[in-house]
Symmetry: C2
Subunit: 257 residues, 2 copies
């Protein structure tokens, strides 16, 4: 059973995960970050100790959670005393076996959500994707996940990588479409608020319908008349114009495959 | 005061609007559609009469609502007895003055939402964008809109056109990003359900934050390492690969302007 956890990282995901684990009764032994300031801000929130040196990490945690950026994982690993205890990372694109020369039992604990430092999210419905090389650690990770979420999945490294890629499309790229919408409205002095119910309903719709059947708009019927109008309206923003044509063609193709 | 309405059209928007007006106590005199089948299906839902010939339209409605596809508006107009009574359309991209040679008082009544025939939507929060050449009709349209929504805006034809264009990005294109996510997951036997909380939170986030500040992911920090990995993973779907690069560059540019 995992009760004493060291969190490495103090970014958006590290922050939300540490707070949620702490609220669920897990003891956050330490928060590691390269700068004392960011380590302290999070450590204070979870009644923990801030550390900035890898050599100062507590030797006997039940679990070391690498919630660092992808690039930061290896350099920290290289400084740790070996073997490390049970260890996981929270990264979509990194295979779990990045730890294979450093720890006996290792894995991934990947909450699939978009996190901001100051927006509290409800973990109870967030999919937690778990992987481990050891059945014992896997069970411990499942048990830990169950303390914060009802939505737990065993996912291998290959699938997790694909989930991360899909999340870039469905979250990062969808959000960029919202940004473009806001920019376009601002040009004509229209408030972005007018798009909010539409954005919400678009996301709500695919909670029930398949996105393919939820698709509406000029591109799916390849309505050249409206599309040409729209492209003309976008002549002052050639990037958006190209994007418009490109995404429209992609929609049309997907629906005629 | 508008009490007796003729609905022209029986598509997704016509269906949802007619049902909502009917539920709000408005008398739907007739439902017009080119085919008896689609006219009847909607007419039955709103205790109305189905018509398929323009010459059979009731002469004395308080309002004629053209909820037809953009292309279908003009041909129907050309068959109507002149002058038509008060008339609006529900189209984003068509100026209100399409009616100027046909009616004295005319306008637009544009509910900004994505509609499906069989998914009931709650109109109370849907922005209704109103325009009219006559102050009297404008007031009547405001009053009608207030009976079904709390979110009413005076929007001119130029702004409405831009709203429609923005809606293509924030709704149609965002939904296409969901479709791509689903396709990618299917390749690795991962259930689309795993993306649903992320999709929901992405839309929820911009109800409070500006989309520009809500942006996360590899593109905003132009993390070439992850981006190259992702592009390699997309090598079997060259369209998605191109889209990935293109949208990522667009995100990076927007955040470095």
């Amino acid at each position: 059973m995992i009760n004493k956890v060291v969190i490495l990282g103090a970014g958006n995901l590290a922050t939300q995960l540490a707070i949620t684990l702490y609220d669920a009764g897990v003891d956050i032994l330490q928060v590691y970050s390269r700068t004392m300031q960011s380590a302290s801000i999070l450590a204070d929130k979870v009644n923990s100790t801030a550390v900035t040196e890898v050599k100062d990490l507590a030797p006997k945690a039940d679990l070391y959670v690498f919630a660092l950026s992808d690039k930061a994982i290896q350099p920290v690993l290289d400084q740790m005393y070996l073997p490390i205890g049970d260890v996981v990372h929270t990264a979509g694109s990194i295979p779990a076996n990045i730890f294979e020369n450093y720890a006996k039992d290792y894995g991934a604990f990947y909450p699939l959500q978009t996190f901001s430092k100051n927006r509290k999210v409800d973990f109870s419905n967030i999919p937690i994707c778990i992987e481990s090389n050891s059945l014992e650690l896997q069970n411990d990770l499942m048990d830990l996940a169950e303390r914060i979420s009802n939505n737990i999945h065993l996912i291998n490294s290959e699938q997790r990588k694909q989930l991360h890629l899909s999340a870039v499309f469905t979250c990062n790229f969808a959000n960029h479409m919202y940004s473009i919408g806001q920019k376009l409205l601002a040009e004509k002095d229209v408030d972005f608020d007018l798009l909010k119910p539409l954005i919400k309903e678009t996301a709500e719709k695919v909670q029930e319908l398949e996105p393919l059947s939820a698709q509406t708009g000029p591109a799916i019927r390849f309505d050249e008349e409206i599309m040409t109008k729209h492209e003309n309206e976008l002549k002052d923003t050639p990037d958006f114009q190209k994007l418009y044509r490109f995404v429209s063609e992609s929609i049309f193709k997907m629906h005629n495959e």
